[in-house]
Amino acid sequence: MVSHVVSRVVRRVVPHVFPVPAMPADGPAMIRNRVLATLVALGVVGALAFGFVGFAPNRLLSGRPVALWDAVSAPVLWVVAAAWLALAAASLAPPGRGRDRLALVVGLGLVLALLAGAGEAATRLAATAPSPSARTSLGAGFWLMLFAAALAAVDALQRLAAGMALRALAILLVGAGALALAASGQLSELSLAKEYANRREVFLAELLRHVALVAGAVLVAVAVGVPLGLAAQRRPRTGGIVFGALNLLQTIPSIALFGLLIGPLSWLAAAVPALQDLGVRGIGATPALVALVLYSLLPVARNTQAGLASVSPAVVEAARGMGLTPGQILLGVEVPIALPVLISGLRIVTVQAIGLAVVAALIGAGGLGTFVFQGLGQNAVDLVLLGALATILLALAADLGFQFLLGLTRRSA
């Protein structure tokens, strides 16, 4: 047994190499919230060591970094600095709800202040630029500070043991703030906003296409996967075989599955004209939809089966004993009890499909991936970002939506 020998050697050697301290090192005694202190350090490093924005003469050249203090006006600089100082102070304060509430408000405010600051920097830099094609993109310093500020708010929410309502409120406030900033024109000189402005209509169309592709795939996957999961629960043997096959399918890389479907689907479309009239093609939305459905079947079917299996047999026996019909037992008892598990399956599937649909742009299915791959092809990083960030926001929104739904169904569990 190799592992046994290894563990024996490790057992002998490790205590000498790494003597275990009797007490864990707790850091300077003054720091009361080490998570927040770490995040503040990260934010300060982001502000000092990296460019807040990048400035480039045109869309295709890479920019030079511009430091925070050179990029924004004095009032904005003071607001950002004061926010980090407030968070630093909060990390030293003794534990309490007041401290955590302060960190929450400051963290959320800082997220918006950074966005507004980046917009302001872009406007200021555009005024000094020799040509209108000059671009201001978001720099590493911006992203680091944004990450740290957002996590400071998350940490505060966790310490406050915030319920779903407060979490939703925090997200809505930041979302509404960001939208208000965008609507006011504060952000419109940012390269990302320019890319968006240049193709507003195409963007909305591709966004809709992306959502339609995902929604269609998830709906079909539910229509097929739920009965499949039901069958697997009633006949575990068949279930094992079906799940094994679907699991193999899941491991195949998305682009490979998309590609493998092109041949059979074009053949099918050529052989059956009626299908062609329905829009079945070797490339485009058809293989994308088929592949997304195939990927989505396993989580839907498995969670349906797991949800139904979580219904106690006593509950079903009691239901039968009281004279519920099999249909009433399924719809009135088993499905409602299985619903939370089923919804977590939908959550996995939807988030997964939103990501996979990006790749579908490569086979001509459209969607937000169009911008990503167009941008990669043209070396236009802002276009890449436009597609990628929109996808991430879409995935996060779907995830939050399902979490909310889950919270509603979990009341009685």
């Binding site: 047999p313 006593a314 509950v315 009691a318 009281m322 004279g323 409602p336 009685s412």
Partner: protein
């Protein structure tokens, strides 16, 4: 009235219920008792057709259960199981209302009935009705299980080891509860247990099963006084046999009409076991017997307890 006529149930080659005939009189507290694998639970489940009948017939109030739609049959009987099986996603009130709603009672009547049952089971209505099952203790959950079975006021209640999973104190309380409800409502109860003491305490009639066959059927006293064979003797016997016998005999059956005695009085309806306990506790070998109005009826003597 429930009549089982030569009922047989097989799983594969093995007959788990074998040519069983029984009659459960209206208003009886009928206990099916036997070791595990004796077919008592299967017998119970054949009455509401949760288990199919291979041969023979079961009639409820003269109608063959096979001629009734299974769901309608079940809605007309209460059903309580050991693992309770409350619906976890419904409140207590909704759980109790299951069968009345299936029977499409008007909502006002459903609500009134739920309130009535919560009171009958001595639960705090305001507190319990809106709770979910997982917020209740096991004993409270089974009270709700019993309430749910009684909800549509069925003439027959089937109970499958309903108190088997409860702690001894809760079990004792619920046994008292179900005995009280039986006496007050005159429902026919068919009750499965493997616990002889529970059977003797609750049953007006006891059927002892072994390997799918009926071994003996009769009142608790009948079974204790004249066990049909060695199996019954072992099953009801053991070290506690004498005490169990005292438990099923009333004080009035051993009454001596002699003059007034000193000591704590005992009711003529108390069991001899209770009388014995009182004698030992009060260090006397005889106790005065008085009825509910306090009138002296005579005395019960220690020496008489051992008399057959």
């Amino acid at each position: 009235m429930i009549e089982l006529t030569r009922v047989t149930k097989r799983y594969g080659d093995k007959a788990v219920v074998d040519d069983l005939s029984l009659t459960v009189a209206r208003g009886a507290f009928f206990v099916l008792v036997g070791p595990s694998g004796s077919g008592k639970s299967t017998t119970l489940k054949m009455i509401n057709r949760l288990v199919g009948i291979d041969a023979g017939a079961i009639a409820v109030d003269g109608r063959n259960v096979r001629d009734m739609p299974a769901e309608a049959l079940r809605r007309g009987m209460g059903y309580v199981i050991q693992s309770i099986g409350l619906f976890p996603h419904w409140t207590v009130a909704d759980n109790i209302a299951t069968v009345p709603r299936l029977l499409r009672w008007p909502e006002a009547r459903v609500r009134a009935r739920v309130a009535e049952l919560i009171a009958l089971l001595q639960l705090d209505a305001a507190e319990v009705a809106r709770k979910y099952p997982h917020e209740l203790s096991g004993g409270q959950q089974q009270r709700i299980g019993v309430a749910r079975a009684l909800a549509a006021d069925p003439g027959i209640v089937l109970m499958d080891e309903p108190f088997g999973a409860l702690d001894p104190i809760t079990r004792d309380a619920l046994q008292g509860e179900i005995a009280r409800i039986h006496a007050a409502t005159e429902k026919t109860i068919v009750f499965v247990t493997h616990d002889m003491d529970e059977a003797l305490r609750l049953g007006t009639e006891i059927a002892i099963l072994d390997q799918g066959r009926l071994v003996q059927c009769g009142s608790p006293a009948d079974i204790l006084r004249s066990p049909a064979n060695d199996f019954v003797r072992t099953f009801v016997g053991g070290a506690d046999f004498g005490l169990r016998l005292l438990g099923v005999t009333r004080v009035r059956d051993r009454l001596r009409p002699n003059g007034a005695l000193a000591g704590p009085p005992v009711s003529p309806d108390a069991s001899l076991k209770e009388a014995l306990s009182l004698m030992i506790a009060s260090r006397r070998d005889a106790l005065p017997v008085r009825d509910g109005a306090g009138r002296s009826l005579g005395a019960v003597h220690l020496a008489d307890l051992a008399r057959a």
